[in-house]
């Protein structure tokens, strides 16, 4: 049975197992297949810069090492802020204890986030209790240093849990004119299928 989150709202407990919302589950997906001149299917791989080594797909691993290049066990390391000055707090997993829903969020608070994940929650009683409100809480899926602001929101497609981080959109005045530097952002996403007939 999938692990459940427990939400406390208006004196009642509601359990729901989060299911990650992914495009492939809604629209399907695309695989790119390479074939050679004979029509045989080719496997992707990597070639080292000196062309001496062929590394098969799945043959690379991100390793954590010390400055001398010696392997480190990540569990023996401590997490600090990006500038390396502050030790980061460690959070419990949100599955470990009930989540109390006591803070309501505005539309702007909800919208102004960079989302990491969205989960579907199926519990009609919880959906009814949430109603048209948006509830905000702290969320950590696995526990550890990674945690997000999370929101529960009802939609015509059901109840969803959004997890992300606050993104600022300051109001600007005439004097705040900016410049265009035309730097194209790097493309780090694969192109996949989306049914744009949704409009």
């Amino acid at each position: 049975m999938a692990k459940e989150l427990i939400f406390k709202l208006s004196g009642s407990n509601f359990a729901a197992a989060p299911v990650k919302l992914e495009r492939k589950k809604i629209y399907g997906w695309t695989d790119t297949v390479a074939t050679d001149k004979n029509g045989d299917v080719c496997q992707s791989a990597y070639l080292s810069p000196d062309d001496s080594l062929i590394i098969p797909s799945g043959g690379l691993k991100q390793a954590t090492v010390d400055v001398a290049g010696r392997w480190l066990d990540k569990s023996s390391l401590k997490a600090f802020s990006e500038d390396g000055t502050e030790a980061l707090p460690v959070f419990s997993s949100s599955f470990d204890a009930p989540i109390e829903l006591k803070t309501k969020a505005t539309k702007e608070e909800f919208l102004d986030n960079d989302w990491e994940s969205v989960y579907q929650l199926v519990n009609p009683d919880l959906a009814t209790a949430v109603g048209a409100d948006i509830y905000k809480f702290e969320f950590s899926y696995r526990g550890g240093v990674n945690h997000n602001d999370a929101y529960l929101i009802n939609t015509p497609g059901g109840l969803f849990l959004f997890a992300g981080d606050k993104q600022e959109f300051p109001l600007v005045a005439l004097a705040d004119e900016t410049t265009i530097d035309d730097t194209e952002e790097p493309v780090d996403e694969s192109i996949d299928e989306l049914d744009f007939s949704m409009f």
Binding site: K25, C42, A45, I54, G59
Partner: protein, 232 residues
């Protein structure tokens, strides 16, 4: 900030700026003596030690061999740091293939193959001369839009001079007064999704506006996913 060529309700267009200062910080991991750790890409397997090769070589005896002799580890290459690697394709014989054809196999959510088509690349369409991103006139109440779509990316749209301040402020005020988002469209007909960079994902795009006195915020919100129930 980057350039976007945007048109308004009157089909007047202007080049304005968009961007974000958002940055999700990455933790730094340190050892007990306070020195920083480094994350590096390393070799785990070669063609000779990959799963398929080991199964072919040892067959049913593979489990015993793994315990006895560690054939999955090539002592010369395991753990070697690799940088600047190139993606290649291999023939069924394990040789680098040249002149490969790339096809996209499209699958439905249930795993059924829908079609096979040649691989295509997307072109950016947000800053084309004479083809502005169009204000379609299709307003969606903000409350409805935020409960309909997962906005994957959001950018602030900002003026680059006094004229474009008036241009964008008017857009933001109209949207704020209507408490609604405006659907934008790309391409010559203004109906295509937006592609922010060459090779990037196509997104449906909306503009959201906020004003306070003579200040405004115009936010470009991008989505490629509806909030639809999925079967579990």
């Amino acid at each position: 900030m980057r350039k976007i060529n945007l048109s308004n309700e009157q089909k007047r267009d202007a080049e304005v700026a968009f961007g974000t200062t958002f940055h999700r910080p990455s933790p730094v991991y340190k050892t007990t003596d306070g020195s920083k750790s480094v994350s590096q890409r390393s070799v785990k397997a070669t063609l000779a030690t990959a799963d398929d090769a080991l199964i072919e070589k040892f067959g049913a005896a593979l489990a015993d061999e793994l315990v006895k002799a560690d054939p999955e580890i090539d002592m010369e290459t395991f753990g070697r740091k690799v940088e600047g690697i190139k993606k290649v394709y291999l023939t069924p014989k394990g040789k680098v293939a040249y002149g490969v054809s790339l096809n996209e196999h499209v699958y439905l959510p249930d795993g059924t193959e829908k079609e096979v088509r040649p691989e295509t690349d997307t072109q950016a369409n947000i800053a084309l001369d004479g083809v502005p991103v169009r204000w379609t006139g299709k307003l969606i109440p903000r409350d409805k839009a935020m409960r309909m779509f997962m906005f994957k990316r959001s950018y602030q749209v900002q003026h680059v001079n006094g004229l474009t301040y008036d241009f964008l402020y008017a857009m933001a005020k109209k949207l704020a007064d209507a408490d609604a988002m405006m659907l934008l469209g790309g391409g010559a007909k203004g109906v295509e999704p937006l592609v922010m960079a060459g090779g990037g994902t196509p997104y449906r795009a909306f503009l959201e506006g906020r004003v306070d006195g003579d200040k405004y915020a115009l936010i470009l919100r991008l989505t490629n996913m509806e909030l639809k129930p999925i079967n579990v």
